[in-house]
């Protein structure tokens, strides 16, 4: 039915748009977190332990009397920072390496791809565990680990695009003398690489939030007084029979953030690829 098709198109774009708005809002919250928290997220108050909703503590208090709402807001920082690092490190390290490897080709490319594949073969969490184990458990180290995890992926993406472009422009470029060749190819590579990388970056945000939460949940990431949604869940789990809401709020926060990243990524992928059919996903 044509009406449904139209509805679906709007829906597909609307979800992506909603995802984008959510991420923007989240970034703003993360930036202005210290001013947005009604209470100090680390402040303990053992007389007000595990309270429910109230006007003073909107979402109640946790097992150490800390304000859940404030902690939730503060936790957005860890999430956004993880996402940012998961995009920036691969972008500035992985992409150039991938382009160089694809451009040079030959044995350099072969070796590079073997290394990349070798790293990708390791499940992300194990890689994060290994790195945090070596460097010590902290939120910062967890985020560096995440950045390292995503670098080979971006490198592969960049290399793939570079190879394609090299094939297409090789004939044209061979007519122009040496120096110009490289510049022109570079000019063509960047704009062509951008769309798939932007799409991948959006999914990386989601995945980074999940990994950071998992690592923090295991006690290898955020430590008090650092706040992360993952660590909130870890701490809240021991109180689950007393107040299950302690894990529900941070869990929902993670879920919504990941959904936002996924929706936005999907929407980007559709709009950036003219061949992609909008009908069925």
């Amino acid at each position: 039915m044509s009406l449904r098709t139209v509805f679906r198109r709007i829906m597909a774009e609307r979800l992506a748009f909603a995802g984008f708005i959510f991420i923007v809002l989240l970034v703003l919250v993360a930036i202005f977190a210290p001013w947005l928290t009604p209470h100090d997220p680390a402040e303990q108050n053992l007389s007000k332990v595990l309270k429910g909703w109230s006007t003073e503590h909107w979402l109640g208090t946790d097992e150490l009397g800390r304000d859940v709402f404030s902690r939730l807001i503060m936790g957005s920082r860890a999430a956004i920072q993880s996402g940012a690092i998961a995009i920036l490190i691969p972008l500035f390290i992985g992409v150039p390496l991938g382009i160089i490897s694809g451009y040079l080709g030959g044995i350099v490319d072969d070796i590079f791809m073997r290394i990349v594949d070798g790293i990708i073969a390791i499940p992300a969490i194990l890689l994060a565990l290994g790195i945090t184990a070596a460097f010590g458990a902290s939120l910062w180290n967890a985020m560096i680990a995440i950045g390292i995890i995503f670098t080979p992926q971006f490198a592969r993406l960049a290399r793939g695009q570079t190879l394609q472009i090299r094939k297409e422009h090789y004939v044209e470029a061979s007519k122009i003398s040496g120096g110009f060749t490289r510049w022109i190819i570079l000019r063509h590579i960047i704009p062509n690489i951008a769309p798939p990388i932007v799409v991948q970056a959006s999914f990386n945000l989601s995945y980074a939030v999940l990994i950071e939460a998992s690592v923090s949940f295991l006690g290898l990431g955020a430590h008090d007084p650092q706040v992360s949604w993952g660590s909130m869940i870890q701490q809240g789990y021991s109180m689950i029979h007393m107040n299950p809401w302690l894990i529900i709020y941070p869990g929902m926060a993670i879920l919504l953030t990941v959904l936002a990243g996924n929706f936005f990524g999907d929407g980007l992928r559709i709009s950036l690829d003219p061949k992609h059919k909008l009908e069925d996903k």
């Binding site: 449904r4 073969a121 390791i122 992300a124 194990l126 565990l129 184990a133 939460a213 295991l218 990941v258």
Partner: protein, 315 residues
Amino acid sequence: MFLRFLLRRLLYVIPMMLITSFVVFSFILLIPGDPALTILGENATEERLRFVREQLGLDKPIPVQYFHWLTNALQGDLGRSIFTGELVHETVFSRLTVTFQLVVSAMIFATIGGMFFAIASVYFQNSWIDYFARFLGVIGSAIPNFWLAMLLVLLFSLNLHWLPATGFTSITKDPVQFLRGIILPSIALGAVGMAQITRHLRSSLLETMNSEYVRTAYSKGVDKWRAVMRHGLRNAMLPVVTTIGILFGNLLGSTVVIETIFGIAGMGQLAVNSILQRDFTMLQGVILVMVVLVIVINFITDVVYAILDPRIEYD
């Protein structure tokens, strides 16, 4: 012909395994300062420090260290636990069967669930089950697995008291208890996989149902069920086989979280404990075994795919 094909694939996998093993090995190298000191802390005795340094082979140059480590590993010797002194490979392999049962259960759940929803979604296009399946696919891909585990425990253990919240019984000891204990962890572990398979198979199936050979099938008088199951599915499953193979690696990694929550004494829990106890040799051993498993499964997946697709030539 087929043998040559296998050989060529192996030739690609082996250098990759070497690199991966080097990465796993290099975790130790990343430790700033004196690793032995970092591991044991400041109050360590000289004797303990020497033991650790010997275990890690820290006094030799790096390539030599790696070489020794690798050759030992290939013979099955993964060193001794810094913490308990036990043989690493014994501990790891004793836990392997446990994790194996968990991961296989989760994969069965993910695959069967995924296939069910994808097929139902396509057969009853635009019905409520179609929307529900797509909803599951979206949520399943986004939900943190440990959080899902907790919600499941909250509902099925703490509220309804139907299923246990922790513990594991091997299937060989008591199948019924095994089943009761494995349901929640399998769902929590496999949910992401089910979502991925649902989405992938659904889109693949929709594509094949629009193909010309399905049209030919209809022109022969084939009914919708047969068209979906015998014509569409057989073709649509091919790319999904690869997804399933990759899923195995994800699931294996995620056992660290799930086994911790459900108190399952498998490799994942071992990995987490090793980190908390700073037992590096054990950690290296566990991760190495896991990674080798992942690579082997990926290799098998590639081969299976080649077998299933008659269009792939073997030279």
